[in-house]
Symmetry: C3
Subunit: 204 residues, 3 copies
């Protein structure tokens, strides 16, 4: 189940990357590159920081075909994207929570404690988008938008709490997915966001 | 002593990150995230480049409480920051030199030579701020401002030179701190800076 | 031969970094830093992603003297750069293909398959420039410009195909260099570029 969700996740992330590249009128190579980096960036940064080798796309380069296809498909269906927006946001939300759970499990498989596991989940969930925004020369959306990172953070914590129960793994995964997905959808619907910090004194 | 200075350093770096996030009106999550990345970014990049695992915050996730607290405190005391500016710059300068010394010692503990030790010190000292500025979508200050990187570079070299003497470790550390701190304060006071290179021919 | 080309490559890359820094009126430190990161960035990212330690500049810190000298030389000869433009683009093209071949060979020396070897070549070829552009706060040129990344990608594939022949290593390297160099020069001359993807729907 988690593999399926992972594949949905990298597809959705690749599509957000391709759209961001299209907003900058990048060429085909740029579109595929940004899509790929967005899809694999979060997991790759997690693996670099934890020293967890080989990276996913090194072990499974065939996944690159999926993200490349998703990027090219996005170019093709771009005129329809505004009508598909809700479907797209739903896939993106599923991918976010799936990425988070996978990140937590990678840290646990390395014997790391709960705080680092939560961070590994968060990094896997959001850093693909952070790198996408860096490469597109804009402040990462995730630091400004409605609840996105918080959904990842909360899902990681919930997953760890549920593990304390003697429940089967699939149930814990499913509950975390359902909760994270629901909160993310509500946050989009009602534009929930965290309070902002405003500081206007210029540098120097 | 170096641990105390390290903790001062990550606190001061976290505060510069939080202020930069506030200038972009980021939300609470963004503020804490930028603060954390600024505080641990330099050491993490050094560790990735040298293959020095585990990273500091993976081994000591409790330090994240310190940087998170520093970020939240910064939001709270932001209205006073302009009056606290000199204290803040002093802590930042101490942290810069402490980071540099720690970076040099990490490289030495891995058996690396003097040139790489100097670079490890420099990277530890300045790359937290570089990542902060990347995430805030601006050209890194350290490539343009008055002597900051040069203080790190000079402190690393001085530390290595002093090590050639048969002096106790605490004395070498103290002398390096005193020298680096003094030069940094003078550079701020008298706005010392390196000559600039200006090249106006447009790309292509 | 490949070492000579590598040294030409890091020199040319360092010069592109120094010029980009000059366009932002960076100070001497910033110029040397951007030049160094541009020259070693692609290989370093490849090595981090593949877990290939130690990095080139850690094993050979003397190469840093070359890139630092190239950066300082660039400041000195900047007024002549527009007249030297074609020579400079030729060195840059040679360096691009040399970097690519080196990246492919590093991946092969680690026993990695062909898809990852191609990616390693591509990353080595273009990511120095990507980091340069990130640090200079602009969208990476390589995602928008005339054929540059595609030359790297094509050279990597050609190199792998030629390896299937029972030809000596120097011949394979030479043929790849000649082909990649020629295509790059033609792309500059005739402004070949990939089709662009344009997507104008704003975020949210």
């Amino acid at each position: 189940m988690l593999l399926t969700l992972y594949l949905i996740g990298i597809t959705a992330e690749a599509m957000t990357g391709a759209l961001a590249a299209g907003r900058l009128r990048m060429d085909l190579f740029g579109v595929v590159m940004i899509a790929t980096v967005t899809a694999f960036g979060g997991g790759s940064i997690r693996d670099l920081l934890l020293g967890h080798y080989p990276l996913t796309w090194v072990a499974h380069p065939e996944y690159l075909l999926l993200t490349t296809s998703a990027a090219l498909l996005t170019i093709w269906i771009a005129p329809l994207m505004s009508r598909l927006r809700m479907l797209f946001l739903m896939l993106d939300a599923l991918g976010l929570v799936a990425f988070t759970i996978i990140g937590v499990k990678v840290a646990q498989s390395m014997g790391l404690g709960m705080p680092v596991a939560v961070l590994a989940g968060l990094i896997t969930g959001i850093f693909g988008g952070v790198i996408r925004d860096l490469l597109c020369n804009r402040v990462p959306l995730v630091f400004q938008k409605e609840l996105y990172a918080v959904v990842s953070l909360g899902s990681a914590c919930l997953f760890l709490v549920l593990q304390q129960m003697a429940w089967p793994a699939w149930l814990i995964t499913l509950l975390t997915l359902a909760a994270g997905f629901t909160v993310r959808m509500l946050a989009i619907r009602y534009q929930w966001h965290l309070p902002r910090f405003e500081y206007n004194v210029p540098e120097k």
